[in-house]
Subunit: 209 residues, 2 copies
DNA sequence: GGTTGACAGAGTAACAAAGTTTGTCAACTT
DNA sequence: AAGTTGACAAACTTTGTTACTCTGTCAACC
């Protein structure tokens, strides 16, 4: 359950570690998570089970490392995609689009949602869980990239909404293409995001800031 | 699995049927779904198991009837709440608000999401399942009430998005009050909904109508 | 329209035996 | 220093068995 550095003293070769991580990813993708054994991963990586235990303290540690690697890559992709735009809407749209495509094309995520939804979906959709909070953090970051001066209430609300949409799209793919969805979502939310009022229109229902 | 009328010939008393449905709802709320027995429901309704089987052909039939009753009530509430507004935004906001409150205050749904999420959440969040399509149907209806002339692509996209948000809020309650959420969502989506162009802003990414 | 009790078959719980898998050792190779 | 092998107890799964509860239907009765 330790986040990093389970290495003995100096540092083992990085390539062996990566090799193991890749093997874990591919075996998980083909055989599923529930039936994933350390022996299988070691075999796929072309080394022995005991060698694997020199790089990762436990099976949980290995799985955690795979998750960290995959999420980091994903987050990097999204942030890179959202960078270098003048308008906040373009930035949001590009980031959302990159996220949609990356999620849809992620082989392991895709496989797991299809074959082991009962284990995965509650994990993704539960508000208290780590997934929603991490995703929301990234979404807030992307919004802030396009609009550093934004009202914090707006930011929180919008990030929460976008997070829920992203996870929903990841869990069950929409009919429309990612491009259409991203365009639609960005166009819908940017005006409200850009506005200065805490709530965009005073209506007949009460509003609590 | 038949939708209605499992009655023998003429028609049994409606009150007994309702009594059973209420008993089923309350026992399910207190004891959960997985441990729900027909015997318990009959006991709670103050009649014998065999009498219950005169009104419902099977346990599944009983559960289906409860679900139909609850969803009908919910849908009625939402549609009534959305009626009688001039502006599409007010109509949408009121409908969305009613749905959020009804979902949050529904005792059985609330209990199930907390105690048996692994069984329920995949059912709710799966795109192919009956829940999303039925909810989307109602959402489309509410939007059409406020805006009968709307472009069908807009309608479909917006209804899909709102459905995903509703289900997400039902599964994990947001930090903000239902009032704030409904106001925010309606304010975000109404402008796009009201616009005439198929896509609200032509951006650097391709758009498929 | 309602009740009771009885009953076969389906489904679930409990649990022990058999089999995997995990995590750790010490001894050995390159 | 990094990796390999085989051996091993403890933890966890799977499998098969048995006992139980629940469903759905019966016929006889108010």
């Amino acid at each position: 359950m330790e986040p990093l550095a389970p290495l003995p003293a100096e540092s083992l070769t990085r390539s062996t570690r990566d090799q193991i991580l890749n093997a874990a990813l591919t075996t998980a993708t083909t055989h599923g998570i529930s039936r994933l054994s350390v022996g299988d991963v070691a075999k796929a990586a072309g080394l022995s089970r005991q060698t694997l235990y020199r790089h990762f303290t436990s099976k949980d540690d290995l799985i955690a490392a795979v998750v960290v690697q995959e999420t980091s890559t994903l987050i990097e992709q999204v942030i890179r995609a959202a960078s270098g735009f003048d308008s906040p809407q373009d930035s949001l749209e590009a980031g959302f689009l990159a996220a949609l495509i990356a999620l849809r094309e992620h082989p392991l995520l895709d496989q797991l949602v299809r074959t082991e939804p009962d284990a995965l979906i509650p994990l993704l959709t539960t508000g208290g869980g780590p997934v929603m909070s991490q995703v929301r953090g990234v979404v807030e970051l992307v919004i802030l990239m396009g609009q550093p001066e934004i009202d914090s209430g707006h930011l929180r609300r919008t990030a929460d909404l976008l997070t829920r949409l992203l996870i929903s799209y990841a869990v069950s793919a929409p009919d429309d293409s990612p491009e259409v969805i991203a365009n639609f979502v960005a166009a819908s939310l940017t005006p409200v995001l850009t506005a200065n009022q805490p709530t965009p229109k005073i209506s007949n229902t009460e509003v609590q800031p």
